[in-house]
Amino acid sequence: MLNFASKTERKISKDFERKGYIIQNVPDIKSLENIKKILLNSINKKIKLKKKIEPNNLLDFFHNKINKKNLNSIRLDIIKDLNKNKKLKELYYLIAKPFLDILVGNELAMQTRINLSIQLPRDKSSLLPVHSDVWSGDSAFEIVVWLPLVDCYRTKSMYILNPSKLNKVNSIIYKNKKNSSEKLYQSIQKYINWINIKYGQVLLFNQILPHGNRINNEKETRWSFNCRFKGIFTPYRDKKIGEFFEPITMKKISEIAMRYNLPKIK
């Protein structure tokens, strides 16, 4: 196959294939700062603080500011408020645009709603057991853009399977050796990589690879967004165009072609 990709593009592609993810500095810092402002605004609407707190402290030590029993309703209200913001999706796209261009394409569909993850220290209620998105109806043509709003490390972060072990894991599942996701995790934990990522960086990962999180045993709260992207005309599965994905960068020739009809001859 011909490959006219530049040296940088090839390196990013190769890294993504080898590790199952890439971590890059956000090229559009202004968009990132705006996303953080939108989030802080939503948080401030939901929880009334007695005194002004420095934003990074508010996020990292959020668990000290709320009643943990209310976490789910707080999260849902913040997500609802965030997704009302008409600019958020475009800002989110901009923080990953150059890497999406390289790994996915430039005629993209984006998930209609951006997800927010809040992981309080020692909280067991918000865990994502080991899973691959394709196991629950996503198309293998999707990529996840994961954006931390705080520095994430060890259990404050997420893990992902080393791609070289994917066949091994598939074989474990096929033979049905492990009858729960926890047992599956125990059997594959030696093959996983924990993601260390700082605020100001963005993670793009291959959601085919099993991934998830564990109880956050660090002293700070994790805040991260995630959102899926795919080529508009690549195969969809259960997450359909319209109800889950929406075109965001469709090219004019595609639109013209979709409207075109060959002349009819009597």
């Binding site: 005309f233 195969p235 969809y236 165009i241 929406e246 075109p247 979709m258």
Partner: protein
């Protein structure tokens, strides 16, 4: 209060089939979240390409704030007919909502957004599907 008429299907639409009571639950919930006064749903006839019930609702649109259909894919498959539906809502300053997708059409920009999704959906039939690629 913004009075809206619900609209659901008794047949498949673009390869999807959703039980009517589920369509109604989704429409009702959507109306609640949007602060709309839901006035029960009219169910389209099951005959292929029928939009007789939808046309009936359009005749009475002046008395409503708008219509809440379950899905954008319950609009006419024919591009011209579908665009005439959008025009009717825009001209009458009414709103057409879609509960499943969370979209609405009340101006040309909204109509273009929904139309693009429709055209993509129609063209995806010509693209390889996930089933073509993976046996299971």
């Amino acid at each position: 209060m913004k009075k809206v008429r619900g609209y659901n299907f008794s047949r498949e639409f673009m390869g999807e089939r959703v039980p009517q009571h589920i369509q109604n639950i989704v429409i009702r919930q959507y109306c609640q979240s949007m602060g709309l006064h839901y006035m029960l749903s009219s169910t389209e006839y099951s005959m292929k390409n029928s939009s007789l019930i939808f046309d009936q609702i359009l005749d009475e649109i002046k008395n409503l704030h708008g219509v809440v259909a379950y899905s954008i894919f319950q609009l006419p498959e024919n591009n011209l007919k579908r665009n005439n539906v959008f025009l009717k809502f825009i001209k009458n300053k009414k709103t057409l909502y879609f509960a499943n997708e969370g979209f609405k059409v009340s101006n040309q920009k909204d109509a273009y957004r929904v139309e693009m999704i429709w055209l993509i959906k129609k063209n995806l039939i010509k693209c390889p599907s996930a089933k073509d690629i993976w046996a299971n």
